[in-house]
């Protein structure tokens, strides 16, 4: 139960109006820049033209959006599962932790865009190299957040569990893993946005479909409206996936989100005071 505080939807509106106003302001500035001729139209298309194009070429964009979304989700899920498994192994075994950490760190600091061509050479132009780049991008935050979460468990709680005699498996299932979930979700939210970037980077390097391909093509043709449209669609995909995870978190961890504050706060609160 929360302290009684007005209507939930009014709360959402109160939190949303600032970011919405900022977005509107950006659109107005964008519009003004183009109508005043401050910047040539072939460099920056007007918002109206961009949205016209979004509508006109929707079926074309939709197909490519689906490809990128598919690669992103696949990469994200693989990174999520692998990340959690590696994190659990690291928390339960000092040897695994000390062995895996340097390799993980190495895999994290190496620029993905620099190794992406290698995957294209190895695996061709299909979806596999894109998924691999997405996995590489998303993996690290999942591991780090899960390790942090699993280690954040109250030491006294674990001592108590020892006197209850449930053994390590029950202790993990009933105490450690649920306690790590808030951290895990924080990591997953970062991971999903990185997975989008990973998929697009993969497409840049070698591909004939996906939003990365659309942008690259548009760039080659000096088709700036299409380029802007592609950028907008990519952002929307990233934001929607993020919000989906936020929603999943609220449904799965009501005990946690009820204290953190309601609905889409993580994203929108940044616009608040």
């Amino acid at each position: 139960m929360k302290p009684v505080s007005g209507d939930r939807w009014r709360g959402v509106a109160e939190r949303s109006w600032r970011p919405a106003a900022l977005l509107a302001a950006c659109l107005v500035i964008w519009h003004l820049i183009t109508v005043t001729g401050l910047v040539e139209a072939y460099l920056v298309p007007s918002p109206a033209r961009t949205f016209d194009l979004l509508v006109d070429k929707w079926s074309y964009l939709w197909g490519h959006t689906w490809v990128t979304t598919y690669e992103t989700i696949l990469g994200f899920v693989i990174a999520g599962v692998l990340g959690v498994l590696v994190a659990v192994a690291m928390v339960y075994s000092r040897t695994v932790e000390s062995t895996a950490y340097p390799i993980l760190l190495f895999a994290q600091v190496i620029p993905k865009i620099a190794i992406a061509p290698l995957f294209v050479v190895w695996l061709g132009f299909g979806f596999e190299p894109k998924v691999i780049v997405a996995v590489l991008m998303a993996f690290f935050p999942v591991v780090i957040s899960t390790v942090t979460g699993l280690k954040s468990v109250d030491a006294e709680m674990l001592e108590l569990a020892a006197t209850m005699g449930g053994g390590p498996v029950k202790t993990f299932v009933k105490i450690r893993f649920p306690a790590a979930l808030p951290h895990l979700f924080a990591g997953l939210k970062v991971a999903v946005t990185l997975a989008v970037t990973g998929a697009v980077v993969g497409e840049f390097v070698g591909s004939n479909e996906g939003l990365g391909y659309v942008i690259l093509q548009a760039n080659g043709n000096m088709d700036t409206p299409m380029l802007f449209a592609g950028l907008i669609v990519i952002s929307v995909v990233g934001i929607l996936l993020f919000l989906l995870l936020d929603l999943a978190e609220q449904l799965m961890l009501p005990w946690h989100s009820s204290r953190r504050g309601a609905a889409v706060t993580t994203l929108l609160a940044k616009g608040g005071t």
Binding site: T163, G165, W255, H256
Partner: protein, 263 residues
């Protein structure tokens, strides 16, 4: 000190010492402590902060191994974490995603107890500790005193023959603490459980116990054992007014003042 290893003791601590070794130094937390607790007895342990009281309870529960000496619990030597005890810590240590009732039932789930029986027992304890109406509340919706009651219920769910409590009411305000003392006294009278209670409150230690163990500054030695000459059934304010109560608390205050050197 009696070091007889009677099979009649619920808890027998024999010549136990505990040394902690860290990178910088070696600290002796407990030095050759011996203590016998009879079945059904309520023993309070008081002593200066950092003298080794928590360490003593962890030894009895098997969460900590002694550097020397031995601990026997219910006739069996303690070699690892024991499951036949109930433990209450200073902080309630509740799972924040579980309701009060399901926090209590964690004990049953970890032990694989039959859920029907555990449920019945949990409801009994909820009623006994006055938590009725808050079964489904999450920990952050409970007051500190209620959280501590949940922890107590969880420790009692499996009807342990020995209950270990480490400053369970330390975080509560004075009034709630008195209520909890009265409740704990009643629970103890009703269940006949052996209790080892670590506390900083002299009044609490005397009101609840058959005996009060006063420990010295670290390394902890048993400074004195006070036998509490009060009736079994203790009304709170009547007990406070008794001369035996005043005598015992004065004696303990004296001893603690002497060991901490504040007198």
């Amino acid at each position: 000190m009696s070091t007889t290893l009677g099979t009649t003791s619920a808890v027998a601590i024999n010549d136990v010492s505990v040394r902690f070794r860290s990178k910088r130094a070696e600290t002796t937390a407990i030095e050759q402590v011996s203590l016998d607790v009879a079945p059904g007895e309520f023993v309070s342990i008081v002593g200066p902060s950092g003298c080794g009281k928590s360490t003593l309870l962890k030894l009895v529960s098997g969460l900590l191994r002694p550097s020397s000496g031995s601990v026997t619990l219910l006739g069996e030597q303690v070699r690892g974490p024991r499951h036949d005890i109930g433990f209450v810590f200073q902080r309630a240590a509740l799972l924040e995603w579980r309701s009060a009732r399901r926090n209590i039932l964690l004990q049953a789930e970890m032990r694989g107890m039959s859920s029907a029986e555990a449920g019945r027992r949990a409801d009994e304890l909820i009623e006994m500790t006055g938590l009725t109406g808050f079964e489904n509340a999450l920990p952050h919706e409970l007051s500190g005193g209620m959280q501590q009651r949940v922890a107590l219920c969880r420790a009692l769910l499996h009807q342990p023959r020995v209950l270990l409590m480490d400053e369970p009411f330390g975080a509560l305000d004075a009034l709630t603490r008195e209520q909890m003392n009265v409740e704990l006294h009643r629970v103890w009278r009703e269940t006949g459980t052996t209790v080892l209670l670590v506390t900083h409150s002299i009044a609490e230690s005397v009101y609840l116990a058959n005996r009060v163990i006063v420990l010295t500054q670290r390394p902890a030695l048993v400074k004195e054992v006070i036998d509490v000459e009060l009736p079994g059934e203790r009304d709170y304010s009547a007990t406070m007014a008794r001369p035996e109560f005043a005598a015992a608390t004065a004696r303990i205050r004296d001893l603690l003042g002497a060991v901490t050197g504040h007198d």
